[in-house]
């Protein structure tokens, strides 16, 4: 296993007085891709929000690149090299181009220019409508824009919440392919997903059930477990 880039341990969190996470923890190595599987309402989104700092953890610790980041604000975490793609993913009232600029807010101008060219060639649909408002895009187009925006930050770890939800099969392949390409440049990934096609990207898998980590291991190990296989790959 590679050196640890990011780790979370014993995370408890919730909304109001309702506790959702009960001591969940996970870690991502440098250059590693981790997929977080889990049924609806297990708390995946909640966990990711805690990891990026959008929600406070009631207890537990977080560290990134060896530094503790538990109480750090989101913007500080982003500066350190974390990046998050929410379920919405874009600024609907800004153009695609502006979205990418905001995504790359902490990156130097020259680097950003190069990266944006890369992103536009990876997402030709976006390149064709640079000045369209992200809010006028279809669900799938928006996701593409959101991914591009998150990548524009040039993060070391990209955290994504169900990037494939609502994407057409072609786009799912494209997204996986694009993420694969960025992974090979050393990007670490932490992806909450339902779509098992993403397991192609995964070095390791965590499952989250009722706010607790259930399974942790490689994709191969997941396949070997009958019960898990049934739960996450379905019968058909």
């Amino acid at each position: 296993m590679a050196d640890s880039l990011f780790s979370a341990a014993g995370i408890e969190a919730g909304y109001g007085r309702v506790q959702v996470l009960w001591g969940a923890g996970l870690d991502v190595g440098v250059g590693e891709s981790v997929v977080l599987l889990g049924p609806n309402g297990a708390g995946k989104t909640t966990l990711l929000k805690v990891l990026i700092g959008l929600m406070p953890a009631w207890s537990g610790t977080l560290s990134f690149a060896g530094k503790p980041i538990t109480g750090l604000r989101t913007d500080k975490r982003v500066r350190l090299g974390l990046s998050y793609m929410s379920e919405l993913g874009v600024f609907p009232g800004l153009s695609i181009e502006e979205n990418l600029h905001i995504g790359g807010q902490f990156v130097s101008k020259a680097t950003l220019r190069v990266r944006m060219d890369e992103l536009y060639s990876a997402f030709p649909d976006l390149a064709a409508r640079k000045s369209a408002l992200a809010g006028s895009l279809s669900g799938g187009q928006r996701k593409m824009c959101g991914i591009a925006k998150a990548l524009a930050a040039g993060p070391r770890l990209l955290i994504m919440d169900e990037p494939s939800a609502g994407l057409s099969p072609l786009f799912v392949f494209q997204v996986i392919e694009i993420l694969g390409r960025f992974r090979s440049t050393g990007l670490s990934l932490l992806i909450a997903e339902q779509n098992v096609a993403f397991l192609d990207l995964a070095d390791r898998v965590f499952t989250l059930e009722n706010g607790r980590i259930g399974f942790e291991g490689t994709v191969a190990a997941l396949h070997q477990d009958d019960a898990l296989h049934r739960a996450y790959f379905g019968l058909g």
């Binding site: 609806n40 786009f171 799912v172």
Partner: protein
């Protein structure tokens, strides 16, 4: 196909946003109890199609005929009472009302005729009964989508428009949802199902229409579609996935 047998007849539907043609002459028919899959790449106009049929947007050309009468231009709440209902791609429940109140409202105001709906039974069949007295804002997004469905079903529609209900469900849940929709169709409810997961489409639909850039590029069974080179090129991308 005799004209009166058709439940829904969509002809040369057009919708423009500014200069952009989101729908560019889409036509299809739907029989009672038939499930039609509406698929296509992102941005091809599927949601727009549902938006126009359900009255959220007025069309810019073409017509929509439901049970022999033109319905384009009819207000949404009237369409609901006529027997057309829908779910939303991003769920839109009444957040501060309870789950039960959500469905009560549509049963009370949107009921499209026929026998009264057993709301508790409906909630139970959708696995929402445990949350009946919780506010809808406490549900997660998949549960909210299911609530959208419950609300639509509470009006006893004859035509149900389903927009990406399955997105975000895990495989086990997907299977259960597919069975549910199939059961409804078998009882005579016609459906237009928009979905990207081909496995789900395969289980639920009788037929598919593939849209691209606001135009139909294919009509037929899913099996045929997966062989069609255009469909593969713009939509499926090599493999038929899901």
């Amino acid at each position: 196909m005799s004209p009166d047998a058709k439940l829904l007849h969509v002809e040369k539907l057009e919708k423009r946003f500014g200069g952009f043609r989101a729908l560019d002459g889409v036509s299809f028919d739907l029989l009672p109890g038939e499930v039609l899959g509406l698929v296509g790449p992102n941005g091809s106009g599927k949601t727009t199609c549902i938006n126009v049929i359900s009255g959220l947007y007025g069309g810019d050309g073409g017509q929509v005929v439901f049970e022999g009468a033109r319905i384009d231009g009819t207000a949404m709440h009237k369409l609901a009472r006529l027997g057309i209902n829908r779910t939303f791609q991003s769920p839109k429940p009444f957040l501060s009302l309870t789950v039960r109140e959500n469905v009560e409202i549509s049963a009370r105001y949107g009921h499209a005729g026929g026998a009264a709906i057993d709301l508790d039974g409906l909630l139970a069949s959708l696995e929402l009964d445990a949350h009946a007295h919780r506010a809808a804002e406490d549900l997660n997004s998949a549960q909210q989508k299911t609530l959208d469905l419950a609300r639509a079903l509470a009006t006893a529609p004859r035509l149900l428009l389903v927009d990406e209900l399955a997105a975000g469900l895990n495989p086990a849940e997907l299977d259960r949802m597919a069975i549910r929709l199939r059961t409804l169709a078998d009882r005579g409810m016609a459906m237009l199902v928009v979905e990207h997961l081909m496995g789900f489409i395969d289980k639920v639909t009788d037929r598919v229409v593939v849209l691209n850039a606001g135009r139909e590029i294919f009509g037929g069974t899913l099996a045929q579609a997966t062989q069609d080179p255009d469909v593969i090129r713009v939509f499926l991308g090599g493999s038929h996935g899901g």
